[in-house]
C-alpha cells in the first residue's frame, strides 16, 4: 500500500497551518498508523462494499416549509457581520 503522503499538501487541503515541530510529529505518527493499516492492503476483501443501509421513499421529508432562523440570529453568532450578512476578508475569484 502506498504511503508517501506529503504533509504540506495534506495541511493545505485540510486548511491547517503546522509548525516545523508539528509537521515532524504528525508525519512520524501518520507513518506509524499507516504502517499498521497495511493489514487492510493484504486482506482478502469482497469486490465491493455492500450498501449497509437503504431507506425507502417514506423516509423522505414532505415539502412543507418550516422555520427560518432569520438574519438576526445568523449574524448574532457570526464572528463578524454587516447589514445582515456575514463578513469575511475579500474573496478573489476562485481563490480556493
Amino acid at each position: 500500500m502506498a504511503k508517501g503522503f506529503d504533509i504540506d499538501h495534506l495541511a493545505k487541503l485540510a486548511r491547517l497551518q503546522l509548525s516545523a515541530e508539528e509537521k515532524a510529529l504528525y508525519s512520524n505518527q501518520l507513518n506509524q498508523v499507516l504502517t499498521y493499516f497495511e493489514t487492510l492492503a493484504r486482506a482478502d476483501l469482497p469486490p465491493a462494499a455492500n450498501v449497509a443501509q437503504v431507506i425507502e421513499e417514506s423516509a423522505l421529508r414532505a415539502d412543507i416549509p418550516g422555520q427560518s432562523l432569520g438574519a438576526e440570529a445568523v449574524t448574532k453568532i457570526a464572528p463578524a457581520s454587516r447589514d445582515g450578512q456575514i463578513s469575511v476578508p475579500r474573496v478573489v475569484d476562485d481563490e480556493s
Binding site: M1, L10, Q17, V33, A43, I86, V88
Partner: protein, 189 residues
C-alpha cells in the same frame, strides 16, 4: 464461532472514522460561528489560522489522517478498501450471530490508563478500541457491563447482539447485574 476479520476492525474503523471526521470538522472555519483568527487578511488564511488555533493535537492528527485516506491517488487503497472491509466484518458478525445469541468480550484490552498517557502514541490509543469497534462498524447493538476490578481498577465486559436485539442484550445484562452488583464501584482517586 469465528470472526476471522477481527484484526481488520481497528484499521478499518480509523480509516472510516478519520475520513468522516476530516469532512465533518471542515465546517469549523471561523466564517459562520466559533473562533475566528484575528491575524488573517484573506479567507484562506482566516480559515487556516482559525482552525490551527482552535483544534487540539488529536483532532489535527485525525483530520490529517482522514484527509490523506480520502485524497486523490490514495482513496482506493485506504478509504474504499476500508468500506469493503467493513462489509466483510458485518457479514462475519451476522453469520456468527446466527449460531450464538450474543458475543461477549472484554470492553477494553487493559484497565484504564493514565490521562494523557497514550496521547503521543496514537496506535496504542487506537488499539484500546479493538473490542468495541466491530459493533460500531457493523451497526450492531452492543453494551458494556461493569464486572469487577483488575489491578484495582473497574473493568467491564462487552456484549454484541444481532440487529434489533437490544431487548435481549438489556435482559442479559440485567440478570448479570442483579447477581453481581458492580455498578457502584469506583476507581481509587
Amino acid at each position: 464461532m469465528d470472526l476471522p476479520s477481527s484484526d481488520l476492525a481497528v484499521p478499518t474503523y480509523y480509516v472510516v472514522a478519520t475520513a468522516e471526521a476530516s469532512s465533518n470538522l471542515a465546517r469549523y472555519d471561523g466564517v459562520r460561528y466559533g473562533h475566528r483568527s484575528t491575524q488573517a487578511t484573506t479567507p484562506v488564511e482566516m480559515m487556516t489560522l482559525s482552525r490551527s488555533e482552535g483544534f487540539g493535537p488529536e483532532v489535527k492528527r485525525r483530520i490529517l489522517l482522514g484527509t490523506f485516506v480520502l485524497s486523490a491517488g490514495y482513496a482506493d487503497a485506504y478509504y474504499v478498501r476500508a468500506l469493503r472491509a467493513r462489509s466483510k466484518i458485518l457479514s462475519e458478525h451476522l453469520a456468527a450471530l446466527e449460531k450464538v445469541d450474543m458475543i461477549l468480550t472484554p470492553t477494553v484490552p487493559t484497565p484504564a490508563f493514565k490521562a494523557g498517557e497514550k496521547i503521543s502514541d496514537p496506535l496504542q490509543l487506537y488499539l484500546e478500541d479493538i473490542f468495541t469497534i466491530p459493533a460500531n462498524l457493523a451497526g450492531l447493538p452492543a453494551l458494556s457491563v461493569p464486572c469487577g476490578k483488575s489491578q484495582h481498577l473497574p473493568v467491564g465486559f462487552h456484549l454484541v447482539g444481532a440487529p434489533l436485539s437490544e431487548k435481549k442484550l438489556l435482559a442479559a445484562s440485567r440478570v448479570f447485574e442483579a447477581a453481581h452488583p458492580y455498578r457502584h464501584q469506583q476507581a481509587p482517586l
